[in-house]
């Protein structure tokens, strides 16, 4: 008699798996007491497994066909991804050529930009790239040349915040936004703001606690109801108390592998145009001009 691996279905939902030695060849019903060796119970909800025999050639063949099928699908999937990667490489080359042409001034429409429309620009930098602060400084110098007045620099771990003194020193005519306030930036200056993840959700929770305190203080002893301090303007005010800027950037440039805002303050991101610029290491002046120019042509409905 052959040793067979057996799955059993009982009246409930658990199934037993074990070896059975003394079974006639075509038993339709197997009892637990006929099993020898260790028996493992396996919870199998919504599934019924049939009595199987691994020595059956048909089963081996269908399993083999299944494996070939999976291998075939895997090959097709990899092939598709190779094609997609090639597409990205080719379109990257076209973008580089276009960017070079723009930076040389060969494409007419990018030669003048209505920079007044861009009141506040934000730049999200991927943390690995942010370790190379010189690239960030170069980007800021480009932005100064283009005429941008206010730039918020974000990286999720706060590395740029730690290098802020160096950045302020190396970028000509730059000033920290918190010192000047948004309305007092002189025309030849660029105001910089350094933002990290702690200015996102943690800051909102701190502001929420301020609102909670306000609410508790306002509770009437008679009816136990407090003042309505839960409005957008109250939250804006509470965020300012916590030391956060609530200014909404018009345009967000993402320098990283992926178009993702990586945790930029959610409260400020509501109507911001988000543009993916590629990696910081290979940033291009022409692409920057193109993104800003495209923004100045955008018309917002604000949902209306």
């Amino acid at each position: 008699m052959k040793t067979r691996l057996v799955w059993l279905r009982n009246s409930g939902q658990t199934v037993a798996v074990g070896a059975a030695n003394s079974l006639p060849p075509s038993s339709a019903v197997v009892r637990l007491d006929q099993m020898s060796g260790p028996v493992y119970t396996v919870p199998v909800p919504d599934m019924i497994l049939d009595y199987m025999d691994f020595n059956d050639p048909m089963l081996a063949l269908s399993s083999w066909i299944g494996q070939i099928g999976d291998f075939g699908l895997d090959l097709v999937w990899r092939f598709i991804h190779i094609v997609v990667t090639l597409w990205h490489i080719v379109s990257g080359i076209f973008e580089s050529v276009e960017s070079y042409a723009i930076s040389l001034g060969l494409i007419q429409k990018y030669s003048s930009i209505d920079i007044e429309k861009l009141k506040c620009l934000a730049v999200v930098v991927d943390i690995e790239a942010a370790r190379d602060v010189s690239k960030v400084i170069e980007l800021l110098q480009w932005l100064t040349t283009i005429g941008v007045k206010q730039v918020g620099l974000f990286d999720s771990q706060g590395l740029l915040k730690k290098s802020k003194d160096m950045i302020l020193e190396m970028v000509p005519r730059s000033v920290l936004l918190q010192e000047t306030g948004e309305k007092h930036i002189s025309p030849d200056r660029i105001a910089l703001e350094f933002i990290s993840s702690s200015d996102n959700k943690e800051a909102v929770v701190k502001a929420a606690n301020i609102l909670l305190e306000k609410y508790l203080k306002s509770i009437h002893p008679e009816n136990g109801v407090g003042e309505n301090v839960f409005t957008e303007s109250h939250l804006n005010e509470a965020l300012r108390v916590v030391g956060e800027s609530v200014h909404v950037p018009d345009l967000l440039l993402v320098y990283g592998p992926v178009r993702s805002h990586l945790g930029f303050p959610a409260w400020r991101l509501r109507y911001t145009e988000i543009v993916h610029m590629g990696s910081l290491k290979y940033m291009r002046y022409g692409s920057l001009l193109k993104a800003i120019h495209k923004f100045t042509g955008v018309r917002q409905n604000y949902g209306v």
Binding site: V76, W77, E202, A208, L212, H261, L262, L269, R270
Partner: protein, 271 residues
């Protein structure tokens, strides 16, 4: 002749279904997003482009797209889908247009309720998220019934987001968490992040892995900016009623290319 046409269109449909299933089988070799959010933009532009009459013509075309997208996501095996149907800012539109959209939503919800009652919706669970108190009474009641009817269903969870904006959601979540803290006498009167997050309208679903916006716009328009810190934001130029199989496949392929990077970002210390 009609029989021939009927037979050939059946054959063609059968063929496209087999091709589609094959494409999805290939796609499923790689990682599939756990949660895809759709910002359904471009209905009005679609109506204008095709000279469709009626204030809700574009949105009716948009609903057809919704049914296809849900079907494709179900076949691929995406567990959660979010559809941004109506934002709080949209209430500022012309009153007739707003009424038209509300009536259309009611009509489609009642249609879906009939489908659910006849047992055709076993693999779909529908949830409405947002400030439902801003909707008219009839619509609110219909939405509640559909949620109750599909509550026990297993399969794709489709969250329809109505009367929503991130700013409104954050403020309401803070209000709700403050009220809960006051009522709960045991815990200290300090709000933690989890207190605020569990009061959000979208706390019923995990954060989106992939946000797809139709209509070629590069903004999130006050949609899930809190939850999308580690999401791939994908914009397609196709207007929502034009969004089809290949747009979805392309977005998922992009997600698969970036999956390792996004997973690494999720594991890093989060905000």
């Amino acid at each position: 002749m009609r029989e021939h046409v009927g037979k050939s269109s059946k054959l063609f449909n059968g063929f496209t279904t087999i091709m589609r299933r094959f494409i999805f089988k290939v796609l499923c070799v790689g990682p599939i997003p756990n949660h895809i959010s759709f910002i359904m933009d471009g209905n009005r532009r679609f109506a204008k482009k095709h000279n469709l009459q009626g204030l809700d013509a574009g949105h009716r075309a948009g609903f057809v797209s919704v049914t296809y997208v849900l079907q494709y996501c179900q076949e691929i095996g995406v567990p959660y889908v979010t559809l941004y149907a109506f934002g709080i800012d949209n209430f500022k539109r012309e009153p007739e247009e707003v009424k038209c959209m509300m009536d259309l939503m009611l009509e489609k919800i009642e249609l879906t309720i009939d489908q659910a009652i006849s047992g055709n919706l076993k693999d779909l669970k529908v949830i409405f998220a947002g400030d439902l108190n801003l909707l008219n009474e009839r619509l609110k009641v219909a939405a509640q019934s559909l949620m109750e009817l599909t509550e026990q269903n297993r399969g794709l969870v489709a969250v329809v987001i109505v009367a929503y904006s991130t700013s409104h959601e954050i403020v309401q979540a803070i209000r709700e968490s403050c009220v809960r803290k006051c009522v709960d006498g045991d815990s200290p009167l300090v709000l933690e992040m989890s207190d605020v997050e569990e009061c959000m309208y979208t706390s019923i679903v995990p954060d989106p892995d992939l946000v797809i916006r139709s209509g070629g716009i590069d903004r999130l328009s006050n949609f899930m900016t809190w939850q999308s810190s580690r999401s791939l934001l994908h914009t397609t130029a196709a207007l929502w009623p034009e969004l089809g199989l290949w747009h979805l496949v392309w977005a998922i392929l992009k997600f698969q290319r970036m999956h390792d990077y996004l997973q690494k970002k999720k594991k890093q210390k989060l905000d």
